[in-house]
């Protein structure tokens, strides 16, 4: 049985919000460095101050919050074994594109091969 329209609209919104949040968070954390190392060397307040002073992290968290509440909405309609893998897998594909374009990551053949495997997996998940 096909999932309701709400479910797929929710999955689309989750993919967009997650991709934006992931890219911004990745960029911010590359600038900041490991929070665990920072915690160990300078204390938890330094970690919190650094994170709280980063506009990128705030915007990333806002996008992730949108994705989270959309997930709650979708889970009230459909099975977790469809919603979570479908949204996360599609996010993986959009993340690969966004990371190559905006973060200039080296998305090599190995990573594209993984993307194709995930796409096939999503097609099976969506069609059943």
């Amino acid at each position: 049985m096909r999932a309701p329209l709400y479910t797929w609209l929710s999955i689309g919104l989750m993919v967009f919000a997650s991709t934006a949040g992931d890219c911004l968070m990745s960029r911010a954390m590359k600038h900041m460095g490991s929070p665990i190392e920072l915690w160990r060397k300078a204390g938890v307040w330094t970690v919190m101050r650094r994170m709280a002073s980063s506009a990128e992290i705030w915007i990333a968290v806002a996008f992730m919050a949108v994705a989270f509440f959309t997930l709650l909405f979708a889970l009230s309609w459909a099975d977790v074994s469809l919603v979570v893998p479908a949204a996360a897998s599609l996010t993986f594909v959009t993340n690969a594109l966004a990371a190559k374009i905006f973060l200039h990551e080296n998305v090599d053949r190995r990573r594209w091969a993984a993307t194709i495997l995930v796409c096939c997996g999503v097609a099976l998940l969506a069609g059943t």
């Binding site: 929070p35 989270f68 889970l75 009230s76 893998p85 096939c120 059943t128």
Partner: protein, 146 residues
């Protein structure tokens, strides 16, 4: 990649999957929410299952932020997609959801991405790496050897 870094990725897998299953259990108890009743999502956060799920997802978030500090986004996400298998197992045995054979094949294909990407380099080697990384408190770049 060091053992500690693999443990951080493992933490992402376990805490993310358990958190999602707890959220699902809680939201199924609350029932379907319509677009006109979106305000119902706010009290849903105080449902015990949803609250526990959020706690697990907070730990997941810390692991995720830490992982992104030493590896590429396009490495971290596929390398931790084994969580989908955990979700499928838990939703079948704990939530009594119907996970069909085709869904299992789909989940296995997704997880196959882990096997392809995990042994590869975890961080893009670039000239600007030194400019991007802070002078203190950063972890050493992994270079191209993952």
């Amino acid at each position: 990649m060091t053992l500690r870094r693999y443990l951080i990725l493992g933490g992402m897998v376990v805490f993310g999957a358990v958190g999602d299953v707890c959220l699902s259990r809680g939201m199924k108890g609350i029932g379907a929410i319509s677009l006109s009743g979106l305000y119902q999502l706010v009290p849903a956060v105080f449902n015990p299952w949803v609250s526990v799920g959020i706690l697990f997802l907070l730990v997941f978030f810390v692991s995720y932020a830490t992982a992104l500090s030493f590896a590429d986004l396009t490495y971290v996400i596929p390398a931790t997609s084994f969580g989908y298998v955990l979700i499928a197992l838990m939703s079948q045995f704990l939530l009594d959801e119907n996970v069909t054979v085709m869904r299992w094949i789909g989940i296995l294909l997704v997880s196959g991405g882990v096997g392809v990407v995990a042994p590869g380099p975890s961080l893009t080697k670039r000239r600007r790496q030194q400019e991007l990384m802070p002078t203190t408190f950063n972890t050493a770049p992994e270079g191209s050897n993952g």
